[in-house]
């Protein structure tokens, strides 16, 4: 059984505020089947009880690691940004006094007094980083595992490995991983940039004339974007491999505008918008075959910004076919196109930039409300909508793999920056500080627990 944390606040607190949930370690709730591991499928029950809607207290004990951003600091921040737990805040020195004597005598009574339901005990071992998770009320160990970490402390790979440990903790505690081992691609000054989900390791990846619309391959090993290869006058779709740094220009002989790429969930198909003359249509192509491309939209209008459903069967996109931009869905082969966002309540509506939630139930998009763009989500079963933002211009939502967080660009603090929203609690944090950041794309988990 899984603790179901409601996706959208509308269905939350009221009905369940007095319920008591049972935490479970069942592994069946993993995002991807390939992530399932033997140890996760045993369905060990964790009889930690807490009021659903409240956030269980988690105490992270210090390690011996040094430096300004220790393993403990990273893990605590990950738990905090995850929005499912309450981190028991103690400075390093105070926390040091809570370490078990002789490595095994834990003061569970004191942990309970501090409000901790769970204690995380990380320590460096010759084979890497060993993490143990303790149940405070039952005074016993729940899980322990040793993770190998890169040698170069604070390198991007090292930080990613610590985030991966945090995601494993999320799986142990809540039954599903968080979204700590992720990165976000975005556009700044017409180039593609990359930043860790917590704002660390911000770096520029491309330096073309105008690079836009980065999109992750589901493997996390490459990304697509639109750019100018220098051949012809139009933009082309580029696929960049992270490891080799090589860029493959898709259909480089095709002229016109080639923009807004997205990969299918199985990673085999790339769908993008191809503009020639006045019309821009979505086309689907094999990732590895430049010749086999198929037009998916028909008519004489603009169609851009495709996003696949998680099962790969449908595509959400925006189209100007009704005279103003709206969000539509269609089957992945281009059939059954239908209007998703109805425009009954706004005569000059403008809806754009759809992104399908990882659970497949909602689509986030941007909608013009009283002259400014705001982030919305529409429930695919009853078409009910929810508005997530109201301050400044908010655009281009992208879901985290946990289905709980959204990143988008916002002008709420001045120049356009990336922000992260917990759609359950409404908690917001600023991700980037350099002005002009836009078109974020949140990666899949880059370290599968």
């Amino acid at each position: 059984m899984r603790v179901n944390i409601p996706r959208l606040a509308t269905t939350s607190a009221a009905a369940v505020s007095t319920c008591v949930a049972t935490l479970s370690l069942a592994g069946a709730v993993l995002v991807a089947p390939t992530a399932a591991r033997a140890q996760d499928s045993t369905g060990v029950r964790l009889n930690v009880s807490y009021a659903l809607g409240s956030k269980p207290g988690v105490l992270v004990l210090p390690t011996d690691s040094v430096g300004p951003d220790s393993i403990r600091a990273i893990m605590q921040r990950d738990l905090d940004y995850d929005d499912r737990a309450t981190v028991i805040a103690l400075d390093n020195q105070a926390a040091r006094a809570l370490l078990p004597r002789h490595g095994k005598e834990f003061n569970f009574a004191l942990y309970a007094k501090l409000g901790a339901l769970l204690v995380v005990y990380p320590r460096a071992t010759p084979s890497g980083l060993t993490i143990s998770l303790y149940d405070v009320s039952r005074k016993k160990i729940i899980q322990t595992q040793t993770f190998s970490t890169p040698l170069e402390v604070n390198s991007p790979a090292w930080r990613l490995s610590i985030h991966g440990v945090s995601d494993q903790l999320g799986l142990w505690i809540f039954g599903s991983p968080g979204a700590a081992s992720t990165r976000i691609l975005y556009v700044l000054d017409g180039h593609i940039w990359l930043v860790d989900y917590d704002g660390a390791n911000q770096r520029k990846l491309t330096s073309g004339m105008l690079d836009l619309s980065p999109a992750w391959h589901p493997s996390g090993s490459m990304f697509a974007y639109s750019g100018y290869s220098g051949r012809g006058t139009g933009s082309q779709i580029a696929i960049r491999n992270f490891e080799t740094g090589e860029t493959h220009w898709k259909n480089s002989s095709v002229r016109g505008l080639n923009i807004t790429p997205t990969f299918s969930p199985d990673g085999r198909t790339i769908v993008y918008a191809h503009g020639v003359d006045a019309n821009t249509d979505l086309v689907g192509a094999n990732v590895n075959d430049d010749e086999a491309s198929k037009r998916l939209t028909v008519g004489k209008s603009i169609n851009t910004s495709p996003a696949f459903s998680p099962d790969g069967r449908q595509i959400a996109f925006m189209s100007g076919r009704a005279g103003h931009p709206e969000v539509y869905t269609m089957d992945a082969d281009g059939s059954n196109a239908q209007l998703l966002t109805d425009f009954a309540f706004g005569e000059s509506s403008y809806r754009a930039s759809p992104d399908w939630s990882p659970d497949g139930r909602t689509i986030a998009y941007q909608s013009r409300i009283a002259g400014t763009f705001q982030i919305m989500a529409i429930d695919l079963r009853d078409r009910s909508t929810k508005q997530f933002t109201s301050e400044g211009e908010n655009e281009d939502p992208s879901w985290a793999p946990d289905g709980r967080h959204l990143t988008f660009s916002s002008t709420r603090s001045g120049p356009r920056q990336l922000w992260v929203l917990d759609v359950t609690s409404g908690r917001l944090r600023q991700l980037t500080k350099q002005g002009g950041a836009k078109l974020p794309a949140w990666s899949p988990l880059l370290r599968r627990p």
Binding site: L212, T260, I302
Partner: protein, 200 residues
């Protein structure tokens, strides 16, 4: 026309140079027996000859200068006409918000491009569509292309070969003016023109 003007100019220059090089006939020393009167006459004659040569030289110089000025003037006028023609072809066309259809003002600007494009058959141009920064960045790329295409289609409907016109879009990424407000946005919703080849 330019080539033949250059030849005329060259011929004039030669004439001027020839006038310069030929010195006045030197005064030859004469036998001492020549009397004072004839000496005076000789001097007067040679002075008169020198004066007449100088005057002729001056007239030639003046003619050359006049021709040169006229030539420069003609060249200037031709260059100005050509520059004006290029200005007309390259003149930016503006659009209404979220629209790609040509306004009356835009149509008048594009109408003026037609005769110039017809009189410059070798000229090939690139039309780049732009938008203001409101709305979806991605949709605006396509909207910019639609604006460029609208101008291209209009030119084609008026007899210009479509193969001479390329279109592209920079969406909202290359604003003419930074900032917000209609005064800024209206300057950014535009189609811009650049020569690809065939400029005279």
């Amino acid at each position: 026309m330019q080539n033949s003007s250059r030849i005329v100019l060259g011929a004039l220059s030669l004439a001027v140079v020839a006038g310069c090089v030929k010195p006045p006939a030197p005064l030859q020393p004469r036998p001492a027996a020549v009397n004072a009167d004839s000496m005076a006459k000789l001097r007067a004659d040679s002075i008169a000859r020198a004066d007449s040569l100088r005057a002729e030289l001056e007239r030639q110089r003046q003619r050359a200068a006049d021709s040169l000025a006229a030539l420069r003037d003609a060249e200037q006028r031709a260059a100005t006409l050509e520059a004006d023609a290029m200005k007309i072809v390259m003149a930016t066309v503006y659009f209404d918000y979220d629209q790609s259809t040509l306004t009356d003002a835009a149509r008048a600007l594009v109408d003026a491009k037609v005769p110039v494009l017809k009189s410059h058959p070798a000229l090939r141009i690139l039309i780049t569509g732009h938008t203001d920064d409101r709305g979806s960045t991605e949709y605006n790329m396509a909207l910019g292309l639609r604006r460029a295409a609208e101008v291209r289609n209009y030119l084609m409907a008026n007899g210009i070969d479509g193969s001479r016109i390329e279109t592209n879009s920079m969406g909202e990424e290359r604003p003419a003016v930074e900032g917000t407000g209609e005064a800024v946005w209206s300057k950014n919703r535009r189609a811009m023109f650049a020569p690809l080849s065939g400029v005279q």
